[in-house]
């Protein structure tokens, strides 16, 4: 059963470029980027029990650093990418120290506040960020001389990065450290009594999540060739969080599925319905009522039951 699922997934990822039109290929690329972003947020929300409402900070700052370095300061894409990832990760290290002074709702509010500061800066520091106009006229990199300008080539690039990201995050959460992290999520007090340092475990995870958030930001700015302060907004953070929860937080596939769902609703439904947010809300409500743990755990439970409750 697992193999059938894997084959279907591989097929759905590898086949579209062969026959689908540019619109769908571009949509698929966006889904991959959103999936990396949701997976990185899931490290915090699902595996660390740290519900963040400011994860867009990492996507946005990662994107802005690359955009500004390449367009304003004449950096090459390689150096800009490295600096962008390093800068985003360093920012996560700093923000982590602040946000992890609290947990639960306090943590959520601090992450929200920090991301609002960045969003405000992106708007107001218009001499650097170009404010509400955003930074336009960007280019995509050409790794090993391969241009990423066509939808298909960018799709392959995004697929490679997304696969690598998924594998790296899967290794992370199933490692011994991942066990420490899940333990701290479930019973922080007990874990401390057993010799684990809950704060440091959370902080390392926070930084790692920031790193992958930055990677998603790079892809995001490469894809759109444009960056605007909305990418740093609470809406952007909340959409990702919605995807994580709808898909199934604390699972590896869930956030990717959730992110895809949010993006499809956004792209498809908004063409027919002006208030697509309302539909997103209804869909989310439906998921929470029917499958409180999310789509992926919910569907797998359903298939188990349909197959006569094997196991």
């Amino acid at each position: 059963m697992k193999w059938i699922g894997a084959a279907l997934l591989a097929g759905s990822l590898l086949l579209p470029p062969l026959f689908a039109g540019d619109f769908y290929i571009n949509l698929a690329s966006q889904i991959l980027i959103a999936a990396i972003f949701a997976l990185s947020l899931n490290l915090l929300v699902g595996f660390g029990g740290m519900t963040s409402l400011g994860h867009a900070s990492y996507l946005g700052v990662g994107a802005y650093i690359s955009a500004l370095l390449t367009s304003r300061y004449g950096f090459g894409h390689g150096a800009a990418a490295l600096l962008s990832i390093a800068g985003t990760t360093a920012m996560a290290a700093f923000f982590g120290v602040i946000a992890l002074r609290a947990s639960g709702l306090g943590f959520l509010m601090i992450t929200l506040a920090l991301s609002q500061v960045l969003w405000g800066l992106a708007y107001r520091m218009s001499n650097v960020t170009n404010g509400d106009n955003g930074v336009a006229g960007l280019t995509r990199p050409a790794p090993f001389g391969i241009s990423l300008d066509s939808p298909i080539s960018f799709y392959w690039f995004a697929l490679i990065v997304a696969t690598f990201a998924l594998v790296m995050m899967a290794i992370f959460v199933s490692s011994a450290f991942g066990s420490s992290l899940k333990g701290v999520r479930d019973q922080p007090r007990r874990m401390a009594a057993l010799g684990f340092n809950p704060w440091l475990i959370r902080w390392i995870t926070f930084v790692y999540a920031g790193f992958w958030g930055g990677v998603a930001g790079l892809l995001y700015v490469y894809y759109h060739k444009y960056i605007h302060p909305t990418s740093l907004s609470t809406t952007s953070s909340a959409e990702a969080l919605l995807g994580v929860i709808a898909g199934g937080s604390g699972t590896l596939g869930g956030p990717a599925v959730g992110a895809a769902l949010v993006l499809l609703l956004k792209n498809y439904v908004s063409a027919y319905l002006e208030r697509w947010n309302m539909l997103l809300g209804l869909v989310f409500l439906f998921i929470v009522l029917v499958m409180p743990t999310g789509i992926v755990p919910g569907v797998s439970r359903l298939t188990t039951r349909l197959r006569g409750g094997v196991r």
Partner: protein, 251 residues
């Protein structure tokens, strides 16, 4: 560290803790020798668990000091105390409900090993740790349930997993907070013999209400009431003491 400080496994000196105006620990001093079996008794609200929480580091005392084998641990965070050889169990069972018994005990082992920072190897890579976890589960009579989730096993068995998690760490000082709470008579007998079989390298300090069982395990007894040490000493002397009867029976 002088030689004299080593004569105690755990030394609590003039410990004070108040929640607002409510003094829950008032000038408590305890000296417990290596290998000793100490029972802490007292009516509900006497401050027994609060004292444990200060020893394990969950609560910070307002003043006073706590020494473990001569080292001042008063200001250390809980996880560092664990590395000093201090383990504890909880009155309210605190386990990883969705995980297997083996995983629970393995976490106890992982907490003291560098592997807890290992970011690319899975826990299953460390076969020696899982073998040791299974040995400990065998010792508490739960090996046959090793692959079951905590949520699948009975309350009495969970009590024993609590114990197994702490025992796996081979602590120098072990704090047991009501290890018999909520157990049936047969289960009590099982846990009692388990506690009795803890090696002498481990100093055991136990809070327990079930006197019939607990007094057999204890060599020394401390009676707390309203956050104060009322009587402290050899078991029989404390039982015979008039003040003990006063606290328990009223005058």
């Amino acid at each position: 560290m002088t030689a004299s400080t080593f004569s105690y496994a755990l030394e609590v000196v003039n410990l004070k803790k108040a929640f607002g105006g409510l003094a829950v620990t008032q000038n408590v001093s305890l000296s417990i020798r290596p290998g000793e079996r100490r029972l802490i008794i007292g009516p509900n609200g006497a401050g027994k668990t609060t004292l444990f929480n200060q020893i394990s580091g969950d609560l910070r005392p307002n003043s006073g000091s706590i020494r473990l084998f001569g080292s001042d641990i008063t200001h250390l965070p809980p996880y560092k105390r664990a590395h000093f050889g201090l383990s504890r169990t909880y009155q309210i069972i605190t386990l990883f409900t969705g995980d297997t018994l083996e995983h629970n005990v393995t976490l106890g082992l992982l907490g003291l090993r560098r592997a807890r920072w290992q970011m690319w190897r899975p826990l299953s890579f460390y076969g020696n740790m899982s073998a040791e976890a299974r040995r400990t589960l065998d010792a508490v009579g739960l090996l046959q349930l090793a692959t079951h989730a905590i949520s699948d096993i009975a309350y009495g068995e969970r009590r024993r997993v609590e114990l197994a998690m702490a025992l796996a760490q081979q602590p120098r000082v072990l704090l047991l907070d009501e290890p018999l709470a909520g157990l049936s008579n047969t289960e009590r007998a099982t846990v009692k013999s388990l506690i009795a079989s803890i090696p002498r390298q481990t100093t055991v300090i136990m809070i327990e209400h079930d006197m019939d069982t607990a007094l057999d395990l204890a060599e020394t007894v401390t009676l707390l009431n309203y956050g104060r040490v009322i009587v402290d000493g050899e078991r029989d002397a404390v039982i015979a003491d008039e003040r003990t009867r006063e606290v328990y029976l009223g005058t």
